[in-house]
């Protein structure tokens, strides 16, 4: 059911949130630069980018804490210009959680409902429901200062969900949690979003977080959106070198296009003796053009024995570093040009006879369709 969810692919689908040519300037600095973006109902949408890329500003404009300098933001059929934060059907979970320290957990959760003037019994019901949802029934009367980081995060989530907003904004929701808890919470957030059929917009600088949770990711840089796509597309078909490098690990090999043979590109590079063969038919390139070839570390194969004479895409070097991570082993291979390649190998078996060692001469190969050509 979830797999078929792709309203962005449907040209007739009406977006829930629409940014049209939005620009935000703070004095001289441009935080968001002529940005247009559609987010659909029920989406788990991630804004991903390095700090200072404008993702938080974008979210704050949606919440109503900042007004766009130019452009319009619409939510459903409503133009949000001039609508103050307290009149928007949008709720936010703050990075610092921003729990009211002078109120107990249940008072915190009830705060938004009280503002709506709901009757007392309805508020109590909804608070109880929210406490069950985040499994904090036993801590209802505690104060935020008596909670652990993970518990605070849950209270913040429950408080933001209590009003059943059309859109929930989450600013670095897992940033303050440790690794184990973060992973668990990621899946919980996905379940909650799915069960409540709500639209989630998450701001994060953690690509792993974005990849795990999001239906679609918008990668931002310098106030612009570089690519909007599903996590798979972002990882396997990055549009630019920035994305390839920002999302996951990547090896970049620079070279020049030699030509096209049987639909495959031939790229000459100082890193390899024989020109590389790349299967990336969508790119439109011309001979002599400078390009970067991006290959993910797990798509490269490292071996000690020389590959056969028919082998393609062979790079030779020596093992510079070995990092054993348990599930993976990372090899850093130094080519004759001085470049360092990162190759990972899954440790599928517990014992390996005669493993590849430091300073050994090795061959690194990759399939033509394992690489992506990025025009410089």
């Amino acid at each position: 059911m979830r797999r078929s969810f792709a309203p962005w692919a449907n040209p007739d689908a009406k977006p829930l949130i629409r940014f049209e040519n939005v620009t935000k300037r703070f004095g001289e600095a441009v935080a968001v630069d002529h940005l247009s973006l559609d987010i659909f109902e029920g989406e788990f949408f991630c804004l991903l980018g390095p700090s200072g890329c404008g993702k938080t500003t974008l979210m704050r404009m949606l919440a109503g804490f900042e007004a766009p300098t130019e452009g319009t933001i619409t939510l459903g059929d409503q133009n949000l210009a001039g609508v103050p934060p307290y009149r928007r059907p949008v709720n936010m979970m703050f990075q610092s959680y921003a729990l009211f320290p002078h109120m107990s957990v249940e008072k915190n959760i009830a705060f938004g409902l009280k503002q709506d003037g709901l009757p007392k019994d309805q508020i109590a019901d909804r608070v109880g429901e929210m406490l069950r949802l985040v499994q904090l029934e036993k801590l209802a009367r505690r104060y935020p200062s008596q909670l652990s980081g993970g518990q605070r995060q849950r209270v913040a989530l429950a408080r933001a969900l209590a009003k059943r907003p059309k859109v929930l904004l989450l600013d670095e929701p897992l940033g303050a949690l440790d690794k184990k808890l973060r992973e668990e919470t990621q899946f919980e957030l996905m379940d909650i979003q799915h069960d409540l059929h709500m639209t989630f917009v998450v701001v994060t600088h953690d690509q792993e977080e974005a990849m795990t949770m999001a239906d679609r990711i918008a990668v931002m840089d310098h106030g612009r959106i570089v690519q909007v796509a599903t996590p798979g597309e972002i990882y396997e078909q990055p549009k630019t070198r920035f994305i390839a490098e920002f999302v996951g690990d990547v090896n970049i090999i620079e070279g020049h296009v030699q030509g096209q043979e049987n639909g495959l590109w031939r790229v000459k590079t100082p890193s390899a003796e024989v020109p590389l063969t790349i299967d990336d038919p969508d790119e439109v390139l011309h001979s002599g053009q400078a390009v970067a070839i991006a290959v993910r570390p797990e798509k490269m194969v490292i071996q000690r024995d020389p590959p056969g004479p028919d082998a393609i895409n062979v790079l030779t070097g020596e093992v510079w570093d070995i990092g054993y991570l348990g599930d993976w082993t990372v090899y850093r291979v130094r080519l004759a040009t001085g470049e360092i390649l990162r190759v990972t190998r899954a440790n599928a078996s517990r014992f390996v006879e005669n493993p590849i060692d430091w300073d050994e001469q090795v061959y690194v190969t990759f399939a033509p369709d394992a690489a992506v050509i990025l025009a410089e």
């Binding site: 307290y86 709720n91 009211f100 002078h102 503002q115 505690r142 008596q146 408080r159 009003k163």
Partner: protein
């Protein structure tokens, strides 16, 4: 770090406390002196307290002082808090530097000058000197202290708390009363108590602006001392010290209470 009390630490602590509190302690002890001579111990007695309560002039002055202190501290707290909010919240506005300077001026201005200029002002606007002129003068003097205390709290205030309240549907005014005010309340109370004690013991500004109808306790004590030391004055001062101490202790308890309450709820 060595946290044990060394001989040096204890000695400096004792000397420090002695330096600060020995004169006050002496005053308190001599207020229970049976002898009429202030410097000669003649046995324990509470007669001067009785004499004090029978002394119409002193009691009246004490009542005036209390009323002025309460009223001026209340006015100073409201104005001082508003000034602190303006200074921390409205980033840059025309005349901000001038405003800051004017808010803090009474703090560094010699009291004689403040007292004199206020007197000239009250004479110019033809306001009869007395209860109201002292109250206004004390409000002017103590407002900046409230501003300093409240402002320092507001500087460390997490603005996202207010944003969260607004995000959850509270308009600005309700956000202020349900989130901002409860959280800065301890600093406001502290500012109030500071203003209250400053007004209680002010002599200079009060004597410039006092009229025939209203004399404060410090003025009364000062003029009594000029005519010769009276043990009654010791008794009056002891009560004054008691009130101030009570104020400080209650302020401390007030700010600790919220912590205690939340701890109790945990069990």
């Amino acid at each position: 770090m060595n946290r044990r009390l060394s001989v040096f630490n204890v000695t400096s602590l004792v000397f420090g406390f002695a330096f600060l509190y020995l004169p006050i302690l002496l005053l308190v002890i001599y207020s229970f002196n049976a002898s009429r001579l202030v410097t000669v111990w003649g046995g324990f007695s509470t007669q001067w307290y009785g004499a004090l309560f029978r002394n119409q002039a002193l009691m009246e002055a004490a009542w005036v002082t209390l009323r002025i202190a309460l009223l001026s501290a209340t006015l100073a707290t409201v104005l001082g808090t508003l000034a602190a909010l303006a200074l921390t919240r409205y980033g840059r506005f025309p005349g901000r530097t001038l405003f800051t300077g004017m808010v803090y001026a009474p703090m560094v201005m010699p009291e004689v000058i403040t007292g004199l200029s206020l007197l000239l002002f009250f004479v110019a606007v033809d306001l009869d000197r007395g209860f109201w002129t002292i109250t206004l003068a004390h409000t002017t003097l103590t407002m900046c202290f409230v501003t300093v205390v409240v402002q320092s709290r507001l500087m460390t205030f997490d603005r996202s708390l207010e944003e969260a309240a607004m995000d959850l549907g509270a308009p600005p005014l309700r956000t202020f009363f349900s989130v901002t005010l409860p959280l800065i309340a301890p600093s406001i109370v502290a500012g109030f108590l500071l203003a209250f004690t400053l007004s209680m013991d002010d002599l200079v500004i009060a004597s410039f602006n006092a009229g025939p109808g209203a004399t404060t306790l410090p003025i009364r004590i000062y003029s009594a001392v000029r005519l010769g030391l009276s043990p009654e004055v010791n008794a009056a001062s002891t009560i004054l010290i008691g009130i101030v101490t009570l104020g400080v202790i209650s302020a401390t308890l007030l700010s600790k209470r919220s912590v205690l309450r939340s701890r109790r709820n945990a069990h």
